[in-house]
């Protein structure tokens, strides 16, 4: 009896293995409709004018870049024949030009051919001096984009680019059609409502109906390059609500096939997943939840010189104090309470891709209260009568700010408790996200002004190469009144060794060589008193069991391979 069970089980498993890999009878539009839920509703169908990730992802169904990052973070050719490298001659030896070759016979969804002129136009569109293109940094250092022939695009950079895959690569910088956007250059761009919401693209779907901030209806692109794809005839992207109800409509009621960004308390999510209708998908990119530690004095008494390099922080520039603060934190508990499957404890600043991750920093993974106390003792901070440590008449008291968000407030409360235990007084503050992340130079509450001792937020970088991201930690990037508080070095940390490492990175080509320098820079940052890495965060979405082919991707749009999605029978 038992043997028979085993045998049937094995037979079924074998059946699944043979048919489960790909749809057996692939035919365009055979699988009906796919329903996607974006609780942050889609506002516009172009990443170039968008104000959020959700628009970029919705647009990725329609407009495509030359190449995308796949779920492993490797480049995959989409509109081109292959990825140019120095080895195959696509990238020049001096690292100044890259040449892409479009696939043959590519058509826009209106039936006209895709040519290199469209790529040239896309560059002109985004870099127009009077425009407000949100993705202009993808085209930084590009001096020229030219059409060598209708299928060949040559991009020239002003400086050698060891990593030349910025322009027209990834979900941020897709190709747009010249004919459609020709009258939408510069200041006219936002007025082209029709083009911005019904873009003509090369992707698997095209827009049929667009209701801003509500629902987008799409149908299979009749001119898509693979005649058997997409499997779905129509797609609907509904917006509105909140992450919890989005997760519910996939995991519990099964009304929708895919819900984006279902970041809710892990407990609640696990309960919903127990209904068995769908599964939670996670993918880890480079998003890092961290504590930035102010290296300058935020004391209000300093007036205009508050939080500027003129006044170093009285105690947070001491590595021992910051290391003690870091050791007192139990990162596993932070992950468990706040992120569940979408979080991992980390001590690194560059948490991914694996090649660039430093193996040298594991000391913070385990909470060590005694070690933390010892470090503070060594640094000369002794416990006063009220349990708060003091040194030279100054209390070890910290103002800790972050954005308003239930997960962050829970983490704040936990960290406050641990810090209190080692004799640190903590005052908590939370600021509305639109203010905290906004860069209004008039507001005292932005993360750049940093009028606090420590602040918590998450940041990441596009693609897999962190050069630009690390570049934010150089001395020249320190925000201050003279730069209208612009600049990415919010901790106001300045280190000559780090600046030298970065200069080296700018000259190093080849992934392995770059990884060495990146790890060196990472180690310099995490061993400084400027930052306390907390949690490597992933993207979290949910899909019903019947939706097959979804490959959760943290390096590009989550809908990057929607052409391959199909309905499991």
């Amino acid at each position: 009896m038992k043997l028979r069970h085993l045998l049937t089980g094995a037979a079924i498993a074998a059946l699944i293995a043979t048919t489960g890999g790909a749809p057996a009878f692939a035919e365009r539009g055979a699988d009906g409709q796919v329903n996607l839920l974006y609780w942050q509703a889609v506002s516009i169908m172009t990443p170039y004018l968008s104000n959020g990730t959700k628009d970029l992802q919705a647009a990725s169904l329609v407009i495509e870049p030359l190449a995308r990052y796949n779920e492993k973070g490797d480049l995959e050719p989409f509109l081109v024949e292959d990825i140019p490298t120095v080895e195959n001659g696509g990238v020049s030896k001096d690292l100044l030009t890259i040449t892409w070759k479009l696939k043959e016979g590519l058509l826009w969804s209106d039936g006209t051919p895709v040519t290199a002129d469209d790529a040239v136009f896309t560059w002109q569109y985004c870099t127009h001096p009077d425009g407000g293109c949100a993705q202009i940094s993808n085209f930084s250092d590009v001096t020229n984009v030219e059409a060598v022939d209708p299928r060949t695009i040559r991009i020239t950079f002003g400086v050698p680019k060891p990593f030349p895959y910025g322009p027209l690569v990834g979900g941020q910088a897709p190709l747009i059609q010249k004919a459609q956007f020709a009258d939408c250059l510069g200041p006219k761009a936002p007025e082209c409502t029709k083009a911005n919401t019904y873009p003509i693209g090369t992707g698997p779907f095209r827009v049929v109906d667009f209701k801003a901030n509500d629902v987008v209806t799409l149908e299979a692109n009749p001119n898509y390059r693979d005649p058997s794809k997409p499997a779905f005839a129509t797609a609907v992207i509904k917006g509105g609500g909140d992450p919890a109800s989005a997760a519910r409509s996939v995991l519990e009621t099964g009304e929708y096939d895919f819900a984006w960004n279902t970041q809710v308390e892990p407990e609640i999510l696990a309960q919903m997943a127990a209904a068995g209708k769908g599964q939670i998908l996670s993918a880890f990119g480079t998003l890092l939840e961290r504590l930035q530690v102010n290296q300058t004095d935020p004391d209000p008494a300093l007036g205009a010189e508050r939080s500027t390099v003129a006044h170093p922080h009285p105690f947070l520039t001491d590595e021992r104090v910051v290391k003690a603060l870091s050791l007192a934190i139990d990162r596993e508990i932070l992950v468990e309470t706040g992120y569940g499957e979408a979080g991992r404890a980390t001590c690194n600043f560059i948490p991914a891709p694996d090649l660039n991750v430093s193996p040298n920093n594991d000391w913070c993974l385990k909470q060590d209260m005694e070690g933390a106390k010892k470090l503070l003792d060594e640094a000369g901070w002794t416990e006063g009568s009220d349990g708060v440590r003091e040194k030279d008449g100054r209390k070890l008291s910290i103002l800790y700010q972050t954005s308003t968000n239930s997960v962050r407030q829970a983490a704040q409360a936990l960290i406050k408790q641990w810090w209190n235990e080692i004799g640190v007084e903590v005052e908590l503050r939370n600021i509305d996200g639109s203010v905290f992340f906004g860069s209004d130079p008039g507001s005292p509450d932005t993360l750049q002004k940093f009028f606090a001792d420590v602040e918590m937020y998450a940041n990441e970088f596009d693609g897999t190469d962190p050069e630009k991201y690390l570049g934010e930690w150089t001395c020249g990037e320190i925000p201050g009144p003279d730069t209208q508080w612009q600049g990415g070095n919010t901790s106001r940390w300045c280190n000559a060794d780090f600046d030298a490492a970065l200069a080296e990175l700018a000259k190093t080509a080849g992934l392995d060589g770059r990884a060495k320098v990146i790890i060196k820079a990472n180690d310099l940052i995490v061993n400084s008193p400027a930052v306390i890495p907390l949690v490597h965060r992933g993207r979290l979405s949910a899909a019903v069991n019947s939706l097959a082919g979804v490959k959760m991707n943290a390096w590009d749009s989550e809908l990057w391979n929607a052409a391959d999605w199909y309905r499991a029978k």
């Binding site: 839920l37 509703a41 506002s43 516009i44 968008s50 104000n51 959020g52 990730t53 009077d130 407000g132 293109c133 949100a134 993705q135 202009i136 940094s137 200041p187 761009a189 936002p190 007025e191 409502t193 911005n196 919401t197 109906d209 209701k211 801003a212 901030n213 509500d214 629902v215 209806t217 509904k238 917006g239 509105g240 609500g241 909140d242 109800s245 519910r248 409509s249 009621t253 009304e255 929708y256 509305d432 996200g433 639109s434 203010v435 992340f437 906004g438 860069s439 209004d440 507001s443 750049q448 937020y457 998450a458 940041n459 990441e460 970088f461 596009d462 991201y469 612009q486 600049g487 990415g488």
Partner: protein
């Protein structure tokens, strides 16, 4: 009455101008940055450029005057063109453009109106239809079981927030029983009996949540007004004259009690257009309430400004209607 109405209408113009200025100033002073929702990977200098392209670099009064021109001149002209098919000028006018969606705000509002009117408006209507008989009966039979029930009903409606009743309904009818959809499909077009049934199904939960809330409020007003009138001398006179209970209650008392209630109902109508922010969010009705809240969250100033101002117009207008109705219902009140 006519001169009174005209006078009030004329007086409304400066009031609304002041309101529009206050809204604009408040929004301008409030913190919030339209580029705050951009991914953190977008560098600050690009954000600055985006803000400039939105016109945020210009001084306050220029932006206010520009909005006034767009809202009071360009938009009405545009509407006129659409309705009549005429072309006025070169037809190339700058409309009030939302920063978030880069499309004209008025078009967004027109797109959102149907679902808001259907869901919130119907809920208001049903609420009134429940509240008036309930108020009448519970006042007439004060302290009876039906009055106790009505009191309990309105206590629940008052004190249980819509985000709770909404969620409770979803858990019962969508998650457990799987009878009703949790998500309102704005793409649904009613063309036959089947789609009509689908429309009803998706409206049941949001409408009942809102109707409960509305009925709770109005039924208390109705009950109080009825109680006031039931003890009046004219009721005793009517009964003494041998009128039937039915005509005493429904002709004399009800008509007099309706006067304050009608005012309350009329004043509540603008809130329909304001949408029901929470309920719309829970059921993803995506009407005007959701439009407003998403505009606020993304610091979309033209959208929030225009929408709030339209609400202000409606409130001023329905205040006038309430006053005029009062005069019609109560012959003792004369405005001229």
């Amino acid at each position: 009455m006519l001169t009174y109405t005209l006078r009030r209408l004329l007086f409304a113009i400066p009031t609304l101008l002041v309101i529009s200025f206050i809204i604009f100033a408040l929004l301008d002073l409030s913190p919030g940055d339209p580029t705050a929702n951009l991914p953190m990977t977008i560098p600050p200098e690009v954000r600055e450029k985006i803000r400039e392209s939105l016109g945020l670099g210009q001084p306050f009064h220029i932006r206010y005057l520009l909005w006034m021109q767009q809202f009071f001149i360009n938009e009405p002209l545009n509407l006129l063109e659409k309705w009549t098919g005429w072309t006025i000028g070169d037809g190339n006018r700058l409309r009030v453009i939302s920063w978030q969606t880069r499309s004209p705000v008025v078009d967004l509002i027109v797109q959102r109106l149907p679902q808001t009117l259907w869901v919130v408006g119907l809920a208001y209507l049903i609420g009134v239809l429940i509240a008036i008989p309930l108020g009448v009966i519970s006042a007439y039979r004060q302290y009876s079981w039906i009055d106790q029930f009505a009191t309990l009903f309105s206590m629940i409606g008052f004190s249980v927030p819509t985000f709770f009743t909404g969620l409770a309904l979803i858990v019962i009818f969508s998650v457990k029983l799987q009878w009703l959809p949790t998500i309102y499909d704005t793409n649904l077009r009613v063309t036959d009996a089947h789609t009509f049934w689908l429309q009803i199904k998706q409206m049941i939960m949001p409408v009942s949540v809102l109707a409960l809330y509305n009925a709770a409020q109005i039924s208390r007003y109705m009950r109080a007004a009825m109680l006031d009138n039931l003890s009046q001398d004219y009721v005793r006179t009517a009964r003494a004259k041998g009128m039937s209970e039915r005509s005493v209650l429904l002709v004399h008392v009800l008509r007099n009690s309706l006067i304050p209630v009608v005012t309350v109902i009329a004043l509540g109508v603008p809130t329909i257009f304001g949408g029901a922010i929470i309920t719309e969010q829970i059921f993803r009705v995506n009407g005007l309430g959701q439009l407003l809240i998403s505009g606020i969250q993304s610091a979309d100033m033209p959208l929030v400004q225009t929408l709030t101002f339209i609400f202000a117009v409606l409130i001023v207008f329905f205040n006038l209607i309430a006053d005029v109705l009062y005069g019609i219902l109560d012959p003792r009140i004369r405005y001229d």
